[in-house]
Subunit: 228 residues, 2 copies
């Protein structure tokens, strides 16, 4: 009774752009595990299989989603202080993650290999090399800072503050009596504290790297430092 005789095909209705935009919406609305090609199709007003004319598989679609997000990120210009450039890169990534929280679990487990993603990766690693640490140390610092960033966005979007995902629950009273340290730390795990905690950890790592670059004090200002 829904669509009586309207057999007209909606030609040209779909496009990669429209599909991807809808996909983000469905993912955020239904959650990553609640997403399905059929729900996406419904949001688009088409049949599920129509999407397969634009992407050969769901994996290809998701890959396009990552590409779109990473493609919007920028590498901070070289005329900024080095430390500020690193901050900007991390904040940019984190902002993207917080814009699409439901998609984060996919992002952090996705191994990027598309040109768009590699270009961004190349820029970020280059940024670390600009710090003058040399190839090896740059690579490792990039990794270490990346670990921190991935863990942070994961916790901030899918973490404890969203409530327990476990089925067996411990109520507040028992928490306070049996797990006092957790109870005491609880307030600092709240979403309102995310920024402050993230900055603290980030500046810790930057301090260490600054120590290294400048030899002693907290410098690590700009451009390419000394190479070993």
């Amino acid at each position: 009774m829904d669509k009586p005789i309207n057999k007209k095909r909606a030609r040209g209705k779909l496009s990669r752009d429209r599909i991807e935009t809808s996909a983000f919406e469905v993912i955020e609305r239904e959650g990553l595990s609640g997403f399905s090609m059929r729900k996406l199709a419904q949001a688009l007003g088409c049949e599920a299989m129509s999407i397969y004319h634009h992407y050969p598989s769901q994996a290809h679609l998701f890959e396009a989603l990552v590409d779109r997000l990473i493609g919007e990120l920028e590498i901070p210009p070289r005329d900024l202080p080095w430390r500020q450039r690193v901050r900007n890169v991390l904040h940019g990534y984190r902002a993207m993650a917080r814009k699409y929280p439901a998609f984060v679990p996919f992002i952090v487990t996705y191994r990027m290999n598309s040109p768009k993603c590699l270009k961004w990766l190349d820029g970020v690693i280059g940024l670390f090399e600009d710090g003058g640490f040399g190839r090896e140390r740059s690579a490792r610092l990039f990794r270490a800072v990346g670990y921190y960033l991935m863990g942070a966005i994961l916790d901030e979007t899918a973490g404890y503050a969203r409530g327990p995902s476990s089925v067996t629950k411990v109520d507040d009273e028992q928490l306070r009596s049996d797990f006092p340290n957790v109870a005491a730390a609880g307030p600092y795990f709240a979403p309102s504290e995310f920024d402050k905690t993230f900055e603290m950890g980030l500046e810790m790592m930057l301090d260490e790297m600054g120590l290294e670059v400048a030899g002693n004090g907290h410098a690590g200002l700009s451009g390419a430092g000394q190479k070993p």
Copy 2:
């Protein structure tokens, strides 16, 4: 032709212990997304629905798996130097993750709230409080170090070194010419470098915390330091 007339029920064959052990095996063999109740049942030599007599849902089963893993972790004794205690906790968690790499994506997105997990959490937060940072700083340092750890085990188990998960691939030649920084950093992203990179980042964070605890030098030896 498989089971001709053998209608005998295998009573008491199943147990939570046996199911969980098999579940870990199936997860590691088939991957997290390849896991299913039916495959688990097959590994156990029973029907899928029989498992539901021991766990009301797959979520409950997975929760039990996390509980089992976390339950095996230990809080390092207080007579060890503080810095060593932190190292031990992180190494313990990381070793667990590397033992069940396919399960890691679930672990890092799981919000623990069972008594067993909370007990461990309480111990770890308490360990940070033993560092003498005070409640707030302890909570934030716990979080920051946790971010680093989660990101690390995620990359080491599900990360780039396992090969790209993307569908569009860039070959090595193009990588070297178009993304030289990535190509140069590549060797340091290999699994053989995991330990070294992890230690570097960990010691960086410990150094910062040591600086804070001791006031200046790299100390932060043992027990409860001064509280602000």
